[in-house]
Amino acid sequence: MSATLEKYFVPEPSRFPIFGSAALLLIGAGAAMWLNRVSPGSWMVAAGLATLIYMLFGWFGQVVRESEGGKYGAQVDRSFRWSMGWFIFSEVMFFAAFFGVLFYVRVLALPELGSGKSAMLWDGFKSAWPNAGPYAEEAFTPMAAWGIPAINTGILLSSGVTLTWAHWGLLKGARSQLINGLALTVLLGVIFLCLQAYEYHHAYAEMNLTLASGIYGSTFFMLTGFHGMHVTIGATMLIVILARSIKGHFTAERHFAFEAVAWYWHFVDVVWLFLFVVVYWL
């Protein structure tokens, strides 16, 4: 470690964090008002989102400039790697909570409801999955695995391949391979999201499957919805990385941002595999 006695980069005072705090206050207070039909809640959320976008552009822009300006030494690079790993771990735990809910409901709660102990309340309730609970009034069609979801699995897995191909391009200095690979990955991500949106529309319009379709609808839309949100975030980050690659950023030796986004993208991919098996298939 004694070889890396270069000074660790400590940034100047920054105006961006306070904008982020103001943004989240506006979004939090605004959303609470909006949900309870108090005006001007929706406007506060909009203002908060605008502030947040300003903050993200400004802050990440500054980080990119500092990085390109050569201010980040090897030790800073290690810090970034550690932090991205731990951040992804926190995301894993977030999804673990919702997967845990799905398992609990299917393995413990529903069989208990259908065991006859609650016959006094809900006589003849069958706990077979998919299930919208004993008070379900309207029938719905569950989402089948071997249509769009299977295609989406193929798309996400291929996007992992194209991303790795782009990484190889970066490592051997083939910039066009890097840029084409990233563009392909973004394209596959966008196709995935479009298909997911189509699937949601189909569920609401023709299958009567909504967020309110009992526990099946709740777990289905929350798990796939949060995953879709993370794909959106991942695709946005990929677009940034693509734009930076086109501008000539990153070298074969130093490209932490590329790797961080790649880790994130693979994480989103793995979550999808679990989703495909336990939400759609089983």
């Binding site: 006695l5 000074k7 660790y8 400590v10 940034p11 100047e12 005072p13 920054s14 105006r15 961006f16 964090p17 306070i18 982020g20 705090s21 989240l24 206050l25 979004i27 939090g28 207070a29 609470a32 008002m33 949900l35 309870n36 802050w59 290690r78 810090s79 550690w82 932090s83 731990w86 951040f87 926190s90 995301e91 735990m93 977030f94 673990a96 909570a97 919702f98 845990g100 809910v101 609990y104 409901v105 413990l108 709660a109 529903l110 208990e112 409801l113 609650s118 919208a132 609970g133 004993p134 379900a136 967020l211 309110a212 009992g214 526990i215 609808g217 709740s218 777990t219 839309f221 929350m222």
Partner: protein, 526 residues
């Protein structure tokens, strides 16, 4: 707090904002640590006022001071404010100030993100405390926000949910910052097993935070969608289960208990060796004990739910797993005692609070063991026995350790010695009034008084009156602390670089007060 004006000694800092903007834009770990500590003390006083209102109502049977609905809001907000606003940010404040000083780093690994971690807390506090003033009032479901109560309430509940989201973001960023700082910023030669124990306990605490804060975010998000978007996670009619909420919540909630006590163990492990003038006994076993507690904390959550319905095998598993935690905790207590054994001890305020911690926290640990025994817990669940137990570990545990650490490092932070007589007075008032407040609650609980109620059977009147007198004494005693700290910041006897002759560690090699920038060239540790 630092007495040396910022930027003066370093020409390379070309634009340093001054006044309020200094604090809003700062990327300095000492500034941010100071803000965390001030913020947490303000929240401590706010939560304290709520507690005193609760105790005023409980002074006599019958309703005198507040209405039952408002009483429920007070108990809920007292818990949320103390846990998320006072105790947790106070420990993060210590981490900010001390970890870079103790491992020889120039700052935290992510100084800008560090600023955001702090500045997310005031918005969260505004949402939380502001919810008192919206129609329907603040959340009144208890700090655990159990469904289905939390599904039913008004806008205050939504504000509490969003406040928890924001505090969760703050905690996760803060925890990642601490993990990365400890793992990547140590001075050359400072191996992990040479690191001060406070840094070890915070490393493990930060790991717990990263693991469980997202789970809490998920839990309250499901509450939010159940409330407004028609989902049925916690509604049996839709195939969900209200007990499910308790499982998800306590999967967060039990590690959370250790999030609030492990850094306290760290502070005590710094203070006791200093004033016993002996190295910490069993350093390695302390590290392993801390890690064991953290791992076990993920396997014991359902001991909070013995009465909500669980198979006997489940109860047995969670009961024995919980009792297992007494082993590493016992290792720690014995190590602290062994550190003091034949030491040349003196009892300045930090040591008083640490020894007080040892006595009173251990009592809280024992009542915890009693609560862990499923057949007994079924009798005392939701009674004042439980209230007594967790205040023994949270107030006499976490809070006393915080006071101990504050007196211990105040000379380093301010450059002045605090008034020792006032510090001692603060300790004796605190520990006496603390026991007057909370010891009778054991008897109340065993006699069957339920918690979270504004009125009670007249047979509980005497002990409640005593507890209320103790609570007001305890609350007023904290003003001694406030006065002592202000006095210490404003002046007093100049502190040496190492004001405690038994102290060891890198933080005592820099002058007091610690300069605005320290260890820009990493020190060599042998």
């Amino acid at each position: 707090m630092s007495a040396i004006p910022h930027g003066l000694e370093h020409g390379h800092d070309h634009h340093h904002p001054s006044g309020l903007m200094r604090w809003i834009q700062t990327t300095n770990h000492k500034d941010i640590g100071t803000m965390y500590l001030i913020f947490s003390f303000i929240m401590f006083l706010s939560g304290g006022v709520m507690a005193l209102t609760i105790r005023a109502e409980l002074f006599q049977p019958g309703l005198q001071v507040v209405q039952p609905e408002f009483f429920n809001q007070l108990t809920t907000m007292h818990g949320l404010v103390m846990v998320f606003g006072a105790i947790m940010p106070a420990f993060v404040g210590f981490a900010n100030w001390q970890i870079p000083l103790m491992i020889g780093a120039s700052d935290m690994a992510f100084a800008r993100m560090n600023n955001w971690s702090f500045w997310l807390l005031p918005p969260a506090a505004i949402l939380l405390v502001g919810s008192f003033f919206v129609p329907g009032g603040a959340s009144a479901a208890g700090w655990t926000l159990y469904a289905p109560l939390s599904i039913q309430m008004g806008m205050g509940m939504d504000m509490a949910i969003f406040a928890i989201h924001i505090m969760g973001i703050s905690s996760i960023m803060g925890a990642i910052n601490i993990v990365v700082t400890v793992l990547n910023m140590r001075a050359p030669g400072m191996t992990l097993m040479k690191m001060p124990l406070f840094c070890w306990t915070w490393l493990i605490t930060a790991y717990l935070l990263i693991a469980v804060m997202p789970v809490l975010a998920g839990a309250v998000t499901m509450i939010l969608t159940d409330r407004h978007f028609g989902t049925s996670f916690f509604n049996a009619a839709g195939g969900g289960d209200p007990v499910l909420y308790q499982h998800v919540f306590w999967f967060f909630g039990h590690p959370e208990v250790y999030i609030m006590i492990l850094p306290a163990f760290g502070i005590v492990s710094q203070v006791i060796p200093t004033f016993a003038r002996k190295p910490l006994f069993g350093y390695a076993s302390m590290v392993y004990a801390t890690a064991s507690i953290a791992i076990l904390s993920f396997m014991v959550w359902a001991h909070h739910m013995f009465t909500t319905g669980m198979p006997a095998t489940g109860q047995l598993f969670f009961m024995y797993a919980t009792m297992l935690i007494a082993v590493p905790t016992g290792v720690k207590v014995f190590n602290w005692v062994a550190t003091m054994w034949r030491g040349s001890m003196t009892f300045e305020a930090p040591m008083l609070f640490s020894v007080g911690f040892l006595f009173v926290f251990t009592m809280g640990g024992f009542t915890g063991l009693i609560c862990a025994i499923a057949p007994i817990d079924i009798q005392i669940q939701d009674t004042y026995y439980v209230v007594a137990h967790f205040h023994y570990v949270l107030v006499a545990g976490s809070l006393f350790a915080l006071f101990s650490g504050a007196y211990y490092w105040l000379p380093k932070w301010t450059g002045h010695m605090y008034d020792e007589r006032l510090g001692k007075l603060h300790f004796w008032c605190s520990i006496i009034f603390f026991n007057i407040t909370f010891f009778p609650m054991h008897f109340l609980g065993l006699a069957g008084m339920p918690r979270r109620i504004p009125d009670y059977n007249p047979m509980f009147a005497d002990f409640n009156a005593i507890a209320t007198i103790g609570a007001f004494g305890f609350g007023l005693s904290q003003l001694i602390f406030l006065f002592t700290v202000i006095k210490c910041v404003r002046g007093g006897e100049k502190a040496a670089a190492k004001p405690w002759d038994g102290a060891e560690g890198l933080e005592w090699t820099v002058p007091s007060p610690a300069p605005y920038h320290t260890f820009e060239e990493p020190p060599q540790v042998k």
